[in-house]
Symmetry: C2
Subunit: 241 residues, 2 copies
């Protein structure tokens, strides 16, 4: 085999391994997305019939996190990836952490939603509706973030980051409403608190999703945009947008 053939062979095998690793991460992302949408739908449809199945998913996500880190590490050890591929591996390692934490928050959100349903005194419908709307928005953000990761699409990643503004506004409004609820219904403070924790978990999931979008931009453009405000990002990446 000639040297160029050999190196082509090695690099295509590396590409194959990197692709397969990205595929596993996206599969994990899909599981976490299911955890999130199951949590959000508890408020409208009641606790899932197969809670055991969901718990199994959480364990599966934890196992995947560890095994994806290990595989990324092995790839780093065996190959000496060039800058672009290295960025992708770093992004995989960081996204892996954020996805696992989204899974944790989704689990917390599910527990809070279930606890709310069990309360004798039901949370007034408009609060439930507001939480559900926030949940739906966060589900959209996460679907968009995973899609941006799958396609390495900076423009889509920016769109998801832009969605965080609405999330922050809606979350702040929800907190204000629930504070009023705590004042007016002190006997149901536990209900108010469960609702606040549920909203908080959803807000955190939006945050982690934005982290993932920042890694997408980093892989695609080589620019580290953490701690950069949205306007500056848009000036850089979206002049014609």
């Amino acid at each position: 085999m000639k040297e160029t053939e050999l190196s082509g062979h090695i690099s295509s095998q590396f590409d194959h391994e990197l692709d397969s690793l990205r595929g596993r991460l996206l599969k994990m992302g899909g599981l976490v997305e299911q955890q999130l949408s199951a949590a959000v739908s508890i408020l409208s449809e009641g606790p899932p019939q197969d809670a055991d199945h969901l718990r199994g998913k959480e364990k599966q996500v934890n196992r995947m996190e560890v095994s994806i880190d290990e595989a990324a590490l092995r790839l780093l050890v065996r190959r000496q990836p060039a800058a672009g591929d290295l960025r992708m591996l770093i992004a995989i390692l960081k996204t892996n952490t954020d996805l696992e934490r989204i899974g944790d928050e989704a689990e917390r959100a599910a527990a809070m939603a279930t606890s709310l349903l069990r309360k004798e005194h039901r949370l007034p419908g408009y609060h439930v509706e507001n939480i559900r709307a926030i949940g739906a928005h966060v589900c959209n953000m996460m679907a968009g973030g995973l899609d941006a990761f799958a396609r390495g699409d900076t423009r889509q990643a920016l769109e998801v980051i832009r969605m965080e503004d609405k999330l922050n506004q809606d979350y702040a409004a929800l907190l204000k409403q629930l504070l009023t609820y705590l004042m007016e219904e002190p006997r149901h403070a536990q209900t108010g608190m469960d609702s606040i924790w549920l909203g908080r978990s959803l807000e955190r999931i939006g945050d982690h999703t934005c982290n993932i979008c920042e890694y997408v931009i980093y892989v695609d453009t080589g620019r580290d945009v953490r701690h950069t405000d949205l306007k500056t990002m848009e000036r850089h990446f979206n002049r014609d947008g």
Copy 2:
């Protein structure tokens, strides 16, 4: 130069660069530790005289996070570190993220503590005392975690992870007390909520500190102990302890 001399030279330079990177991460850890202790001391000593100085620290931490990631990446690109050093680089990348998030939570805690002091209606002294005790415990955890990282000491890392039990108990007790406060003092629900958010930030900081301790164990022993309970860890690493 003979080949062994050359490789010795290269490896000692790599060691030097890796040490310098660990040093920078520990320096960042020191800054974050100062942010945390400043936040905790607000409850007893009032808002810091130089709030601008603290905000400057936060920006410095953000810049350090980005530059440490970049340096770790450059080191990965230029060298082909063996398994142990590679584990250290991965641990640096992951610890970097957790430290920055601890800084964020410390900032939130400081804002909540300052808001509590501004309230006309002061939080009853025993709640303040309980929050302060949790803050002191978390400061100890963080000092221990950074020390374990600096010395690569699995035993000390396990000790810090063990401290999380008390944190979780005290935090759960605080939440219960504050829920009662919300019920009894509905007019001061904002005060109750600020206190809950403050406690929550401290609890999150304890969580991130335990993550760092898990990376220490990973570097030192090669074992990934995430999602492993404390008893199992102790069986493995601390048989004679």
